[in-house]
Subunit: 117 residues, 2 copies
DNA sequence: AATATATATGAATATTTGCTCATATGTACT
DNA sequence: AGTACATATGAGCAAATATTCATATATATT
């Protein structure tokens, strides 16, 4: 077994590093989690999602509510769709967007708990 | 009162827009929330935080566990510190980092629920 | 004081990202 | 078929970001 001695005796805690590494999830999971949080990590997307917590809305409504161009909203909605955070139904020319499930709400509640503390 | 008619009758749902706007949190809260999630939205920081879920670790340990340079880890730790996601205690030359509270764990659990579904 | 070590910080750089503008797609209506 | 409208998409650009490298700071040891 290779000794870990890049730092002095007191720095690298060999057992700790090994123990943590054993528990560590896969690289893939880390990346997926980061992607999810990154999607939530933009003011425009936060506002879109928060708007949708109230009720389903079309792109045009969202644009009016949050004060962003329809194109910008559409681009952001694509990201949220890809991550299955929102879904939509079509009614004629209009697409009504809504939250895909209750995960976003739960994450927002947890997040707000941290932010407003 | 100003009529909202940028789109045709069927597009902008005036009552919906007004109702949602009334409920909408402040711009500041949206930005704070986005900042929090953005901090969680990077693979390196996800790995750092996940490592710390196991036990407290020094910078050097974290670097070894996640396979990133100590400088990179230190830079990311600064961001996590600023957002009060991690704290540290000093023991001589070594700084031991740990999670600031249980918010991160809760957010990760919620996030994983969405990702692994 | 001088040296070594653990970590922090600043500058520089390459990549990513969010927006705008122009254009395309899909649906409804005539 | 042709027009209008709601939304999507692609290219281009400015701003943000994560890393590396060099240097600074803080603590311990001699």
């Amino acid at each position: 077994m290779v000794e870990f001695d890049r730092c002095g005796i007191n720095c690298i805690h060999e057992e700790a590093v090994k123990a943590v590494k054993e528990v560590l999830f896969s690289e893939d999971v880390a990346i997926s989690l980061a992607e999810l949080f990154k999607a939530l990590g933009d003011p425009t997307r936060v506002k879109i999602l928060f708007s949708l917590m109230t009720r389903e809305l079309c792109v045009c409504d969202i644009s009016a509510v949050i004060g962003a161009s329809e194109s910008a909203v559409s681009h952001q909605l694509k990201i949220l769709r890809t991550l299955r955070l929102v879904k939509y139904r079509r009614d004629g020319k209009i697409l009504y967007y809504s939250l895909a499930d209750d995960h976003v709400e739960k994450l927002f509640i947890q997040g707000l708990e941290h932010v407003t503390e």
